[in-house]
């Protein structure tokens, strides 16, 4: 079986400008939603409490919410989690401080009392409420996490740029990083637009995507270099077109397979892994697009030449000619 039967090289570079305009528009849209709506950070970043509880029957979310409001929580977040019998409650630290009927007594800073919460709030939602998970994160931890996340992103970008500059050329390195940062921004844009919860695992997925879609750029850059050596009479555009065309079958198959695994996580991994898988899905789909249609045109704009990549070969040849 062979899916891709491409007779001639696809003239990607002829339409490079169109692709770049499209990606610029999606990029700007993502930035727009990021700035206007912002990310819906999980309590891991903001500090707060998450409670996951399950009931014997269908949980009544509205009455849980009502009883929380009655307890003094200003804007409680109550949602189903996975099934209709599971609920998830999110509260900020301020919310807990404002609700005496669910907090501990005697502590310096009052904290969530699970027994009181079960008795005063969760019991309103149905029979046999059971707390399955409680996460409490103090405010100082959250700030540090945001900082270390930004640092991680920074070092990933620097590391990849240095490696690619050393292995290929600075034009590829810059183009690859721009293309893949564009993916990261688009993932974040999706999370901002839909207000999906941005948690630590989503951050991990986002950074993993950065490393993963650089793969794609590397494969194409490798091919471009090889073509510069092999197709000595071809123009730069032809070389890039051929490189993309001859790797496109591999590109789509690998991404398809990785996406298969990610979908398996999305369907079977349960609610905890859902947004992790969603972030990966967006990253993988846009990763194909960006390395083919963003990275290659950028290298061309940057003016990549045969001499940039095949210097050692030229030297050797001139030496043999002199003999």
């Amino acid at each position: 079986m062979e899916f891709f039967r491409i007779k001639r090289d696809i003239p990607f570079m002829r339409h490079a400008l169109i692709f770049n305009v499209i990606s610029l528009i999606t990029f700007l849209a993502a930035v727009f939603f990021l700035t206007t709506r912002g990310l819906n950070f999980s309590i891991e970043f903001t500090g707060g409490v998450v409670i996951e509880a399950s009931y014997a029957d269908v949980a009544n979310i509205d009455s849980i919410r009502e009883s929380l409001v009655k307890a003094g929580v200003a804007s409680p977040q109550v949602q189903n989690f996975g099934t209709t019998r599971d609920v998830i409650l999110r509260m900020s630290l301020k919310d807990i401080a404002a609700a005496p009927s669910i907090q501990t007594t005697g502590d310096k800073t009052p904290q969530l009392d699970r027994d009181k919460l079960t008795a005063n709030v969760l019991s309103a939602g149905g029979s046999q409420p059971q707390i399955r998970r409680v996460d409490f994160v103090g405010p100082q931890v959250g700030r540090e996490l945001a900082e270390s996340g930004a640092l991680a992103l920074f070092w990933v970008v620097v590391g990849i740029m240095v490696y690619l500059a050393f292995r290929f050329e600075w034009k590829f390195s810059l183009a690859a990083v721009v293309a893949n940062l564009h993916d990261v921004v688009i993932i974040l844009g999706f999370f901002a637009f839909f207000q999906w919860e941005f948690s630590l695992t989503v951050l991990a997925a986002t950074l993993a995507v950065l490393g993963y879609s650089v793969n794609e750029s590397v494969v194409i850059a490798d091919r471009i270099r090889e073509n510069f050596k092999k197709l000595r009479k071809a123009s730069v555009d032809q070389v890039i077109d051929n490189a993309i065309t001859s790797t496109i079958s591999r590109t789509i198959i690998t991404h398809g397979l990785t996406e298969t695994v990610v979908l398996s996580m999305l369907f079977f991994g349960g609610p905890t892994l859902r947004f992790f898988a969603v972030a990966l899905t967006i990253g993988i789909l846009f990763g194909i697009y960006s390395s083919v249609l963003v990275m290659a045109p950028i290298t061309r704009w940057l003016g990549v030449k045969r001499d940039d990549l095949v210097k050692p070969l030229n030297k050797r040849e001139s030496a043999s000619a002199a003999r």
Binding site: K7, Q130, R133, S148, A204, G211, S246, I253, G256, T260
Partner: protein
């Protein structure tokens, strides 16, 4: 050209065998066990307890399936049993035999589960993966140690020390005060300030002194040296960890993790513990230390014999079980104790415990000891509102700010004693800044979900690869399987904690590792399309793809390492597995799959075609 030398096959064989061996323990289900740990700081679990446990179980007619002594910071003994029924019986038998007094438990006997993998595997060091709290249920606390409080406490005690030293040396000052991070002493003239500096700096390696002129006169400012502050902080963390470990042991949890994180935090993980309220209460409790005089009057001795307690006395037992009567009046408490360290007597070379008190404690201990030479002073550690005498040495001479406890003890006993004394003094207050508790049912669900994700992902890849690339697809799947095997084996061998994000990373590793094989297979097809012979196509395909595989994996690895370096919690769990997965995938997708292909095709001279699926050639 497509033949591997024997040594390459040997490497692959050995790697696969080792992988199988280390991954094997994960296949054995966990079986019920009873775990015995120390309930008190004063009770230490020694390997000799194994025979004792064996005797108790034989007497009770309970069949055990192995008793294991586990070394470590808090050693424990585990007894493997056949069923849940036997587990409960064994627990009851051990509780009643080891803790004769139910109100004063020396040992914690807890129900636990251990792997049922055979002893020879365990002896080889092969253990099942260690599951994170989100997979087995339990409670995680992150405690913030208030370091400024520890430093302030030290500076406050310096302030009183300075005052009394200056008084002793009759140097007139205009007041000693702590101002933020320094201790300021005001003087009228520079000479007195200089003299005071000479006296105070003597024997104080931890402090920086500086004299400065101010409108009101001269000020001698003492600050903690940076190295001393760091030392103070790491001591405080260490001391709080010791205290926490003692307290956590009371919860009877099977494998608590208590370790420092960063400069001023402590992580406490309590697998299997469900009662968060009780856990918090126990962790937040403070142990205290009190020094009191032993009542050795004739009346007290008769009272001791008749086990009555005279007015003004308390009855405590010494380690080893000997009861003593001590006076109610406290000479000094844990707050006065600045430090306790095991050391050696410079003259006799005997192990000793060196105690350092703050100025206030030193003054009282001087007065009390002067009046009570050749009497005994008891050091009592209170835990759960119950006191136990750590030691009750005889006072040989007048004691001061620093004094030593000597006697017939081994160096390790001296270390223990110093540890216990320090446990009574809380180094710095702590706050819980992060708490995660996961119910056991959620943990089970998470394992199942993670497992399903991996299995279905793998199956989908297998189906596609075999249909699309035929035999080469099968080879790719086999090498992908070996990748999974290596990954699990390494995770088990390293005993890295596997969490749900970690399982996600395993699934993702499979999805990414297949990339290398797709690259290779596509390359081989391309070579065939361009008219290469099958053998040449295999060789060129692997060779050309390798550079690309290496490049792309290294960039992914860079991202993984950055996550590992800067991530915490769930990110770390993901990053560890991610990084190991990348390394194993290079080995298995290039080396192992080439080995198999060479085995299949390498010896066939007249090879007309490869089973790599249809290769379409443009007309």
């Amino acid at each position: 050209m497509n033949r591997y030398p024997l040594w390459k096959y040997v490497i692959i064989g050995v790697a696969l065998l080792a992988g199988l061996l280390f991954a094997l323990p994960n296949l054995f289900p966990s079986v019920p066990a009873v775990q015995i740990a120390s309930a008190k700081a004063t009770v230490k679990i020694e390997p000799t307890i194994v025979t004792q446990v064996k005797d108790i179980l034989t007497k009770a007619g309970i069949q055990e399936q192995g008793i294991f002594y586990q070394e470590g910071a808090s050693p424990s003994v585990r007894v493997r049993v056949a069923s849940d029924d036997v587990q409960l019986k064994a627990k009851d038998a051990l509780v009643s035999a080891l803790n004769p007094d139910p109100n004063d438990e020396s040992y914690v006997v807890a129900l636990n589960r251990v792997s049922s993998s055979p002893a020879w595997l365990t002896a080889l060091g092969a253990r099942p993966m260690s599951l994170g709290l989100d997979l087995q249920g339990g409670i995680h606390f992150l405690m913030q140690v208030d370091m400024s409080a520890a430093i302030n406490k030290r500076l406050d005690s310096l302030t009183t020390d300075f005052r009394s030293t200056l008084r002793d040396k009759t140097i007139r000052s205009n007041g000693v005060e702590r101002n933020g991070q320094e201790v300021d002493i005001a003087f009228n003239d520079a000479e007195t300030a200089g003299a005071a500096m000479k006296v105070l700096a003597d024997g104080e390696a931890d402090l920086d002194f500086k004299v400065r002129q101010e409108a009101s006169g001269y000020v001698l400012a003492a600050t903690l040296k940076a190295s001393a502050a760091t030392q103070l902080q790491s001591n405080a963390i260490q001391q709080n960890i010791t205290t926490l470990r003692n307290r956590v042991n009371q919860l009877g949890t099977s494998e608590p993790v208590i370790q420092p994180q960063g400069a001023d935090r402590i992580v406490v993980e309590l697998p299997g513990v469900q009662d968060a309220t009780r856990a918090k209460e126990i962790i937040g409790r403070t142990a205290t230390l009190e020094a009191r005089l032993v009542d050795s009057s004739p009346e007290a001795m008769t009272a001791l014999a008749t086990s009555s307690v005279p007015f003004g006395d308390d009855r405590f037992t010494e380690r080893g079980g000997i009861p003593l009567l001590v006076k109610k009046q406290v000479v000094f408490s844990g707050d006065d104790l600045t430090d306790a360290q095991a050391s050696f007597d410079p003259q006799t070379q005997q192990p000793i415990v060196m105690l350092t008190l703050g100025a206030k404690g030193a003054r009282t201990v001087r007065e009390v000891s002067r009046a009570n030479i050749h009497k005994r002073m008891a050091l009592i550690l209170f835990e759960k509102n119950k006191g136990e005498i750590i030691t009750a040495p005889e006072i040989q001479s007048e004691l001061g700010q620093r004094f030593q406890i000597s006697g017939t003890m081994t160096p390790s006993e001296a270390t223990d004693e110093a540890l216990l004394l320090r446990a009574g003094a809380l180094a710095a207050p702590m706050d819980i800044i992060e708490e995660r508790s996961i119910g056991p049912s959620l943990g089970k669900d998470n394992i199942e979900r993670g497992f399903l994700s991996v299995v279905y992902g793998f199956l989908a890849i297998t189906v596609f690869m075999v249909i699309y690339y035929m035999l080469f697809g099968l080879v790719s799947v086999v090498s992908l399987g070996s990748n999974l095997l290596f990954l699990i084996a390494i995770l088990s061998a390293l005993q890295a904690t596997v969490t749900l994000p970690g399982i996600a990373a395993i699934a993702l590793a499979l999805g990414m590792a297949i990339d290398s094989n797709v690259l290779i297979n596509e390359r081989i097809r391309e070579e065939l399309r361009n008219g290469s012979t099958p053998q040449a196509a295999i060789a060129a395909g692997y060779e050309r793809a390798f550079g690309t595989i290496l490049d792309s994996n290294i960039t992914t690895l860079i991202a993984g390492l950055a996550l590992l370096a800067f991530g915490s919690g769930p990110i770390r769990g993901f990053a560890i597995v991610h990084c190991i997965g990348i390394v194993t995938s290079i080995f298995s997708s290039v080396f192992v799959s080439r080995g198999i292909v060479n085995l299949i095709y390498g010896r066939r001279r007249k090879l007309s075609s490869l089973a790599i699926g249809q290769v379409w050639k443009p007309a």
